[in-house]
Symmetry: C2
Subunit: 225 residues, 2 copies
DNA sequence: TTTTTCCATATTGTCGACAATCGGAGTTGA
DNA sequence: TCAACTCCGATTGTCGACAATATGGAAAAA
């Protein structure tokens, strides 16, 4: 689960993490009703902590709650994803521009190594994009960290954008884009290395916009069926 | 409490709203410990709903919770506010640019009327900036709505940016900036009316940047004491 | 057959009590 | 005097039971 410690602390925290994971991976389908008693028993805890976890996920926008009618997994329709990617374009572009002035040389080297390992993974297990997909998020998160802006890091890497990971799982089957994506990542890192914030921002925005186009296309195909 | 219905639904929702209000207005000081039993009694409810409310506020980043040690009101230090305003500049700039293409003529007229009423309020009760401050948020929220991007609206107008309102209460004592701010608002509306998204974005970014400079200065003075 | 009403059932909302954990006052020893 | 230890009160975490509300289906009326 990326930079988080998956299970420790209070039961509510554990439930929150497990639920988030189940939602992101699609184990719990979009729009599915979340029964408190059932989930509480499955996790081996009372309903109290589970309700707290649901409140937390509600704040994360992973579930939608209706008073007296329970909670359901959020539904990522086309409009929601479109909005998400538009916001992401602005925020990650901004992160890139700032990161160009803030990243240390060592951190930029680390980014290069990260991309090297991605390349190896892609060559080794061609179709299995999952690892790269997670790694990709890692790449984006590292750049967010480079902005030194805590709020940006929270929004992009923290709990907030689990929605994105959710979307990734849904669309990670298309291996087509991993090649160009890696290439674009490399371009971005080089722009960062040259401390060219404007270029880095532009490349990142283009990269994310391309990702959206790819996903949008995939949704069209799904809807056609 | 702006576009929200203050008190209805479950007790947890009520507690959440009341707590948020108390935090934003400064009734609950920054960093203050939040005692569950005490608050539950004050609100006339059990600790269960109150704990759920705290989880919700935690997701909103209005309180920070430490396992086994309770919840405290978040502390808005200089760095946090700086980060907040940087993100806001990017998001509201984006909202402005999109709104220029999406707002209806009627909505733009409404914005003009909103500013007219602000002007009246300023003239009538010179020093009392509170109303204008709330109205200012209203202005920004209307533009966010104009972007037709639900995620943007959630981030800028919804629960997320209560932090901003919190900051406003803290710094709303300086009436100096209300005049220029209103002028800038008018400029933005005219850019929107001319459907000039780029200009509108630029003006909005400048407006927010100016607000940050003003607040930053104020923090300096506070720290000097 | 269709629609409406009503009731049994399941699910959510709330509370009070108990267990686990933390923080601090007071004590003891060097 | 100061440090560390111990214990006690206070606070948080958790559970089970009960009340309030919604859901779905059966029965009755049109």
């Amino acid at each position: 689960m990326l930079p988080y410690t998956p299970e420790q602390g209070t039961l509510a925290d554990i439930a929150s993490h497990r639920l988030a994971h189940s939602i992101v991976t699609g184990e719990l389908a979009q729009g599915q009703k979340l029964n408190e008693a059932e989930l509480a028993e499955r996790f081996g805890m009372g309903r109290g902590p589970l309700r707290e976890a649901l409140r937390h996920l509600e704040g994360m926008r992973l579930v939608k709650r209706i008073p007296n009618a329970g909670a359901r997994v959020v539904v990522l329709d086309r409009k929601t994803l479109s909005d998400l990617y538009a916001v992401r374009e602005a925020l990650e572009g901004m992160a890139c521009r700032i990161a160009a002035t803030q990243l240390t040389d060592a951190e930029i080297d680390q980014l290069r190594k990260l991309l090297d390992s991605h390349e190896k993974q892609i060559k080794k297990q061609g179709g299995k994009v999952y690892a790269q997909s997670e790694g990709d998020l890692d790449f984006h998160y590292q750049i967010a960290r480079g902005s030194r802006n805590q709020m940006l890091m929270d929004l992009l890497g923290g709990e907030q954008y689990q929605l994105l990971r959710m979307c990734r799982y849904r669309t990670s089957r298309n291996a087509e884009r991993t090649g160009p994506a890696l290439q674009q990542h490399r371009q971005i890192v080089e722009a960062l290395a040259q401390r060219d914030g404007e270029l880095a921002e532009m490349l990142m925005r283009r990269h994310i916009h391309g990702a959206w186009l790819s996903i949008s296309e995939m949704i069209d195909k799904e809807e056609a069926v």
